[in-house]
């Protein structure tokens, strides 16, 4: 499964980079951080977005003055409960695999007459993007506590899973980074952040199942699209288009890997 790593050294194998850590210090730090996270979980501002999202779903909006109540998220028109944990999935009407955000774009355009391309081009946290962030907070909350069950029976779903797996391992940019650089091994962290190994089911459920999330550092609600966007920024990649196939393929790979391995806690609260 894992790549074998070779430390073939220049005749200086004595230099192998092994220095013992001091477990006592590491434990005190992680205990402190655990206490911090516990206190934060008491009140998650994501609830403010959930409230707004529920209202937005039922509010007649857009040129067609329609609600989203007939939107089909994969469980039938208007069914929200349980939809989040089965996305991304293939939709026959658009003939493509869609994640929650791209599916909402479709519903906003077809039901409400709000042009999807304009929303996709809107910066995060502004205008209709802010509305999508509220909607994904509420829609994901309606699946809280449910196991992931992302389908792979349709050939397009299978294809997106395979593409996602390859995109996950794709290393590029000036730093040679890929998703796999930070999320391909167990028990690692970046600075003090624990990094889930997203190639493994339980960690994939824990990682993928936390987004959308309230992001403490910016005080905003981040959808999975925004989370992936910032991963690509940190990877020093070019800018991923909103709702593009690479983002949906990655979510498919993560969601399928997470299947049956843990409950969705979205929208969570994150540093």
């Amino acid at each position: 499964m894992k790549s074998r790593k070779y430390a073939v050294c220049l005749g200086v194998s004595a230099l192998a980079l092994m220095v013992p850590t001091l477990p006592a210090l590491a434990d005190a730090t992680s205990d402190g951080i655990a206490h911090y996270r516990e206190l934060l979980a008491e009140g998650n501002p994501a609830e403010l977005w959930e409230m707004r999202g529920e209202e937005l779903w039922r509010e007649a909006r857009g040129p067609k003055k329609a609600t989203l109540e007939q939107c089909d998220l994969g469980q039938g028109a208007g069914v929200v409960k349980g939809a989040f944990v089965t996305l991304p999935r293939y939709f026959a009407d658009t003939k493509r695999v869609q994640d929650l955000e791209s599916r909402l774009l479709t519903c906003m355009e077809t039901l409400q007459g709000i042009p999807a391309a304009e929303v996709a081009a809107t910066p995060f946290g502004k205008g209709e993007q802010e509305n999508i962030e509220a909607l994904v907070a509420w829609i994901s909350a309606e699946s809280r506590g449910m196991q992931f069950n992302v389908p792979t029976s349709h050939p397009e779903e299978k294809r997106m899973y395979e593409v996602g797996k390859r995109a996950f391992h794709f290393r590029g940019g000036p730093h040679d980074f890929g998703c796999v650089t930070c999320h391909g091994d167990d028990g690692k962290r970046i600075r003090l952040q624990d990094l889930p190994n997203l190639t493994q089911p339980a960690d994939a459920a824990r990682g993928f199942g936390a987004w959308p999330a309230y992001r403490v550092s910016s005080g905003e609600l981040w959808s999975m699209q925004r989370r992936l966007n910032d991963c690509f920024r940190q990877q020093r990649f070019p800018y991923p288009l909103y709702g593009s196939d690479v983002t949906i393929a990655l979510s498919t790979y993560l969601g399928v890997t997470a299947n049956g391995a843990g409950e969705s806690i979205a929208p969570a609260i994150k540093r």
């Binding site: 220049l10 593409v163 390859r166 070019p238 690479v246």
Partner: protein, 212 residues
């Protein structure tokens, strides 16, 4: 552009196939089809933003090899990669490996530079603490890479060690094929002077890395 990506993805498959481990339970033709799909998806899913231009998605042969899921490198292939990386290392022009560890610490702390939000002014950080424990006082360190605390104390500030550390920072694939670490010198993330500072951070006996 598109062709380049496709070619490099294909190369990854070819390399993996030569390694004899491409199999899994899927046919090679099916695998190759998914590889082509991936190249197409990568090519149409991004746009340039600021300094982050689309050519950043063009992989060199090394990264194409290192990007294959379920990758297994044979000993021989790993040694070839390492030898090629080692041959490409540019050694310090004045023969001096050690800079100022204080500047090295600043670089180690900084994770800035080269994202689409950054300017092309070369003020790039080394990102070191993101992955390594380095000095004792910084408790916010990552564990993707090994701890480097006491590195110089354990290995000595000899010319051999200096060369090893320089090589590691310039192109870590010279000592470990498909290392997770960026090729700081090779890819022009840090310049010679900056690399000297980081070598000093690890090896200078006065550096806090080597303090008790």
């Amino acid at each position: 552009m598109k062709m380049t990506i496709r070619n490099s993805a294909l190369m990854a498959v070819t390399v993996a196939a030569l390694g004899g481990c491409a199999g899994g339970n899927m046919g090679t033709a099916q695998q190759a089809a998914y590889d082509r799909d991936t190249a197409d998806v990568m090519a149409r899913s991004f746009r340039a933003q600021g300094i982050a231009t689309l050519d950043r998605l063009q992989q060199d042969p090394l990264m194409a090899t290192c990007s294959a899921p379920d990758r297994h490198l044979g000993d021989e292939q790993a040694e070839q990669i390492q030898a090629a990386a080692m041959a490409g290392i540019k050694w310090p022009s004045d023969g001096n490996f050690l800079g100022d560890w204080k500047e090295g610490e600043k670089l180690a702390q900084s994770g800035k530079g080269l994202t689409w939000k950054d300017k092309a002014d070369g003020a790039n950080g080394g990102n070191c603490y993101n992955c390594h424990r380095i000095s004792k006082t910084e408790i916010s360190y990552g564990t993707i890479g090994p701890s480097l605390y006491q590195y110089g104390k354990l290995h000595g500030n000899t010319e051999k060690t200096q060369k090893y550390v320089w090589a590691k920072i310039w192109n870590p694939n010279a000592t470990m094929a498909c290392s997770n670490m960026p090729r700081f010198g090779h890819s022009g993330i840090l310049d010679e002077k900056q690399i000297r500072h980081i070598v000093a951070l690890l090896l200078d006996p006065k550096s806090p890395v080597n303090a008790e």
